[in-house]
Symmetry: C2
Subunit: 190 residues, 2 copies
Amino acid sequence: MSPYPVQTDRETIIETARILIERDGVEHLSLGNVAAELGIKAPSLYRHIESKSALLQAVIEHTYLSLFRAYDKALSNSGENPTEQLMALSQAQRTFAHANPNSYLLAYAAQDPELRADPNMLLERAVIIQKIIIQISGEENSLPALRGLLALAHGFIMLELNGQFRRGGDLSAAFEESIRAYLLGWESKK
Amino acid sequence: MSPYPVQTDRETIIETARILIERDGVEHLSLGNVAAELGIKAPSLYRHIESKSALLQAVIEHTYLSLFRAYDKALSNSGENPTEQLMALSQAQRTFAHANPNSYLLAYAAQDPELRADPNMLLERAVIIQKIIIQISGEENSLPALRGLLALAHGFIMLELNGQFRRGGDLSAAFEESIRAYLLGWESKK
DNA sequence: CCTTAAAGACTAATATTATTAGCCTTGAAA
DNA sequence: TTTCAAGGCTAATAATATTAGTCTTTAAGG
């Protein structure tokens, strides 16, 4: 299939970019960096990717897929109680973000609209979570309740990663208690 | 004070950058753009600013100060009930973010650590809000409760601005209801 | 009034980086 | 054995941040 002693391929490039982003931050990623890491020159990358922007998109997509895998795993280990299921999902997200902070930031906070993730990919997951939250908020409130839950978890993680919670204290506990309070609030409203 | 027919100054440059960022997004801001808008050449900017990064920092600081002004105003119009005060603050933040989305994203989602806002500036405000939330969560839970509230409001706004809530529905209502549920949750725990 | 010094503009030059153009080599397939 | 395309490479281009050095103007002091 491939003539020549092939030195790289699209998957390897994406993975290399991901590792460099995780190591140095996305603002230090250059195609030159990636190429050097692979032992080739920057222009050669264009045989495999369309642009730097496309490369970042691919890293973002990869990040979402990993996150979704973490979701699935968490959900399958979390019993029947909807609150515990949602806690498990939220904690999986936070754990993932801590393990891959720069990728997480890239995926969720990309300014450039061109870099935003595929909406359908996200929607699919949202629907799964919404089905769980129905049991807490009731059917008619499930969309706003879902949105608030995603907001709370994501916002907490973002503020945390951006170093805006630096007064100490147990952040894991704060995360958990806040989400429990939130879910309890919707439950009491029902 | 200033010799020569002065064509600009630091404040004007910052304000111009802010406007261009708001209009075109931070990823399209170049010093050439800013200079052109002011009728001068890019290198001349360096008589007034230290670097592009410093310029962005200044825009971020300006953004925070505006946001804080909005907070103060909201708070002074919001009566004595702590829940209503916190709703007013959260809504002021969201309104501000909608009016200045690109500045808000820059200020809160800057990847580059060099661009992060002065922690002390943020702390001061956090303390004000914490004093209100004490009345809801109790003293001992007030730090986690504060963090969750900030996370919920900020996360909601971020997801909204990044176009991740596109299934329709009344987002203003969802924002309000989610925060009320959250506060109610902490209150019931007490 | 004259001199001067410094602020603030400019042009020219440099470094980095994304991207394109065009060439060259190799090995898979005819 | 020939060929042809994939996938390297070098060279060139464009955008942009930044630095160096020049020139002009006017405020201020004599």
